[in-house]
Amino acid sequence: MAERVTVSLTINGEQHTLEIDTRTSLLDLLREHLGLTGAKKGCDQGQCGACTVLLDGRRANACLALAVAHDGADVLTIEGLADNGSLTPLQAAFVEHDAFQCGYCTPGQLCSATAMLAEADAGWPSYASADVAGNPELDAAEIRERMSGNICRCGAYPNIVAAIEEVTR
């Protein structure tokens, strides 16, 4: 028999309290319960990154996060990324560089890149870093490695990298 629980999350600055099945992923909570369809369901197994959101400020695959385990969390989705309707520099750079074709992966790419830039600012290394103890510079190779959790079926990668590179300058 289905087990039901009550969870409260802050999503894009707004508090939501919902009764859900324990099996509900954070992605399904966003899309099916709250109508926030920006985060996309691609593979539903953590491989494509289309569902990426910021969970307590860190990028995460919403498809593999059980909503019940994140009771009390602060979630930022693509719907909450722009500040009062004005695009963030990263969003503007995606438009400027035509960093998409069909757009299905774009919400995930933007949420992922937003958090990735914060990780790099915090000095986090990547597997592309020559020295994991050093302070990495975000060049194209670093950006590609750090964004490898976001797949683009249209292959818009060169423009995605260019857009992200622009905001690192």
Binding site: Q45, W124, R144, G149
Partner: protein, 326 residues
């Protein structure tokens, strides 16, 4: 997905008590492997015990200079830890070579150790699999085993352990601290994962009612001069075909000390003690590294379609040692 009850553990003992009293209970960490396996029907727990709110989320420097890594420390935080990056660089590199930025933010230290094989037959409930359903057979032995084991496998299972982190930890002589109904025990990580033998359903020696609380890294000057090299079918976000974790100390052109572990080749991270023994005291040159690699890999028993992994492992080990010796 089968319905389950969700419980949040407030302390380690209560988590152990639930495990001991509920045969169908499983621990939930980041969920990046478990939730996926539940969706596939491979894992069907009645109860999930969420251990992510336990206080085991810190990396502490021990009085002896080693590190104590809490079971709940996220893979991304461990890779970014200053002590890990400067004193155990192969561990940071191994962590960063695994999964994606999003997954590393969720995945925990204990969960990484306890992740299941990615053997396609194991993940497909329509297929027989001795690991998933003991006694049903192993289709991989005659089927698609290109990326499966060449070392330590048995007639019942040829799966590989998928973790990168564990390979570096085994190389560093890490110890797993676990708590169960009878108290705390310490298990060297090299003995924590099992070879399949006749019971491939058991990945590790962890008992059903035990909880990992921490991983301990002993102090090591050698560890500072270490690296992790991973070979895979694409440049990023893919499991290893072969990986090498190694630490090397060369003095006056000779190998003073060395540690090596291999990933992607066996049911567990493979500590290459035969190669290490062969290398100690020998000249630190390519010919020595080549010989030592073959000494270790002489134990390999490749399957019909994966002999390439033996020569790939050989070349990767030689290359890694050569770079460390430069």
């Amino acid at each position: 997905m089968k319905p389950f009850r969700y419980e949040r553990a407030d302390d380690e003992r209560s988590a152990v008590a639930v495990l001991a009293g509920t045969p169908g209970a499983r621990l939930l960490g980041g969920g990046t492997n478990l939730v996926d396996l539940m969706r596939l029907g491979v894992e069907t727990p009645d109860v999930l015990v969420d251990v992510t709110r336990l206080p085991a989320n810190r990396v502490d420097v021990m009085p002896d200079g080693g590190l104590l890594i809490g079971a709940g420390v996220r893979n991304s935080d461990l890779a970014a830890d200053h002590h890990v990056r400067t004193r155990y660089p192969a561990l940071a590199e191994a962590l960063l070579s695994g999964a994606s930025g999003q997954l590393r933010n969720l995945a925990t230290t204990a969960g990484n150790l306890l992740q299941r094989t990615r053997c396609a037959y194991f993940q497909d409930v329509a297929s027989p699999c001795n690991k998933r359903e003991p006694g049903t057979g192993c289709p991989a032995i005659e089927g698609d085993h290109r990326n499966l084991a060449v070392l330590g496998h048995s007639s019942t299972c040829v799966a590989t352990h998928p973790s990168d982190m564990a390979v570096a930890l085994v190389m560093f002589d890490a110890v797993v601290r676990v708590i169960g109904p009878a108290g705390v025990r310490a298990i060297p990580l090299v003995d924590f994962h099992r070879l399949p033998g006749t019971s491939p359903q058991r990945d590790t020696v962890l008992r059903r009612d035990e909880l990992i609380v921490a991983v301990q890294l002993p102090p090591s000057d050698l560890a500072r001069h270490s690296t992790y090299r991973k070979v895979r079918e694409r440049a990023s976000f893919s499991f290893a075909v072969v990986s090498v974790a190694a630490a090397l100390d060369v003095r006056d052109g000779r190998v003073e000390d060395v540690r090596i572990a291999l990933g992607g080749l066996a049911h567990k991270p493979w500590r290459a003690r035969a190669a290490e023994d062969d290398l100690r005291g020998a000249p630190a040159d390519a010919a020595t590294f080549d010989r030592a690699a073959w000494v270790e890999l002489a134990q390999a028993r490749p399957l019909r379609d994966n002999a390439y992994k033996v020569s790939l492992a050989q070349a990767t080990l030689v290359r890694t040692l050569t770079e460390l010796a430069e």
